[in-house]
């Protein structure tokens, strides 16, 4: 089937299988491998991308559900030398170790800050990032990074 969608401000017209997942299109068809697949069972959040202004788990979105959608992946946020404030904060606060969870974590964190209206504290960040699992950091520095970035976004 035909799929048109915009990823990181670039419009695409693709021929995809009806049972293709959004994450397969992003990683396979478009070669944007910053979005990761950790579990493929909707649990870990490594595959999180922004779709039409909301953080979603792209392993649990069918191609057709992304018809005409606007998607942002980690590659669309910033570039070396010109990072998004959330990326800079993750770097400054050592909020990653292996980095596997980081792309999804950063997309979720930006979504959280956007919705929070300036009312974020540690508990709200931990609760707000419950859909993103990190096996390395113990979350402490992630929470610090998100709170620091929230003041700069």
């Amino acid at each position: 089937m035909k799929l048109s969608l915009t990823v990181n401000e670039t419009a695409h017209e693709l021929e995809v299988a009806p049972n293709a997942l959004l994450v397969e299109i992003i990683r396979g068809d478009l070669g944007l491998t910053g979005t990761h697949v950790g579990c493929d069972t909707s649990q870990c959040g490594a595959c999180t991308v922004e779709m039409d202004g909301r953080a979603v788990k792209s392993c649990t979105v069918l191609a057709g559900q992304a018809q005409d959608a606007r998607v942002t992946t980690i590659e669309g946020l910033g570039a070396p030398g010109n990072l998004h404030p959330m990326q800079t904060a993750f770097q400054a606060h050592h909020a990653l170790q292996c980095g596997f969870c980081t792309p999804g974590m950063i997309i979720s964190a930006i979504d959280l800050v956007k919705r929070a209206d300036g009312r974020l504290d540690e508990a709200a960040v931990r609760e707000g990032l419950a859909g993103n699992l990190c096996r390395c950091t113990g979350y402490h520095n992630i929470v610090e990074a998100v709170l620091a970035a929230a003041g700069q976004m």
Binding site: N19, S42, L62, G64, S108
Partner: protein
């Protein structure tokens, strides 16, 4: 995942006709249950009928004594809705406690009720508030809707359009959340409505149910202590590696006590 054809109808009639025309087809709401089920091969529909573009299925409307929420309304939108927060704040709170942010951004009221997971949150509110489930062909009372484990009164192809919640004088929800899945190990919704207080329980039995013995014991007064002594038959409660039936019964008592204390506060 098995192959299937994907459809994106724009009217209710077209969606129902597409479903009726292919006996092995399935409606798709947010996909938060259906897509994992497809991946596991537990469902193998020939056709997937996406309800996302169907006009009139999403949205929230408040009349004086009735809050109507469209089947395709996402949990995040219920949680953030000013109308829901004003009319039934406990329902907005319940929605904000479902799963995680990404699940709330996709999952829907209709999908949750059609699925009737024994540990889902919304069924407790639907039961306690005595909501009405409006489908493409009829309106059902909550008390007639939940039939058993993943089993509802929906006929094959029947489509939930909306749920009508009577506005209670007060309501409260408390759940004991599974720390990993975040589903309710036990959840209790209490609502002061009509003549008395209604109590809806989820997580404990094969499907959500009213704890009528507690309703009787309360006799309209939010007395938290009654939750400790009201008869509660747990012989058919769920028992799994997370909690035995007896432990779930205890959790139901504690969640009911806390919800009632919140109601009284």
């Amino acid at each position: 995942m098995n192959g299937f054809d994907y459809h994106r109808p724009e009217t209710l009639e077209a969606a129902v006709a597409a479903r009726a025309g292919a006996p092995d087809s399935a409606y798709l709401a947010g996909g938060m249950t259906l897509i994992p089920t497809l991946k596991q091969g537990l469902a193998e529909p020939s056709d997937v009928i996406d309800l996302a573009a169907v006009a009139g299925l999403a949205g929230i409307g408040l009349e004086v004594d009735r809050l109507t929420i469209g089947a395709m309304t996402r949990h995040a939108d219920v949680a953030a809705s000013a109308e829901v927060q004003r009319a039934i704040p406990a329902l907005a709170y319940l929605a904000s406690e479902i799963g995680d942010a990404q699940v709330r951004n996709r999952g829907t009221l209709g999908g949750s009720l059609a699925n009737s997971d024994p540990a889902a949150d919304y069924p407790a509110a639907v039961i306690a508030l005595g909501a009405r489930i409006v489908t493409d062909r009829r309106t059902m009372a909550a008390d007639d809707y939940f039939k058993g484990l993943f089993e509802t009164a929906l006929e094959p192809g029947e489509l939930i359009r909306a749920v009508e919640f009577p506005v209670p004088r007060r309501a409260a929800y408390r759940k004991f959340r599974h720390p990993a899945s975040r589903y309710a190990v036990a959840g209790v919704f209490v609502a002061e409505i009509g003549e008395g207080i209604r109590v809806g329980v989820t997580g404990a039995g094969p499907c959500a149910f009213r704890w009528t013995a507690l309703e009787t014991a309360l006799a309209g007064k939010p007395a938290p202590a009654a939750a400790e002594t009201a008869p509660l038959d747990f012989r058919r409660f769920n028992a799994d590696l997370h909690a035995s039936a007896e432990y779930r019964a205890q959790l139901v008592r504690v969640m009911a006590r806390r919800a009632l204390a919140n109601l009284a506060a």
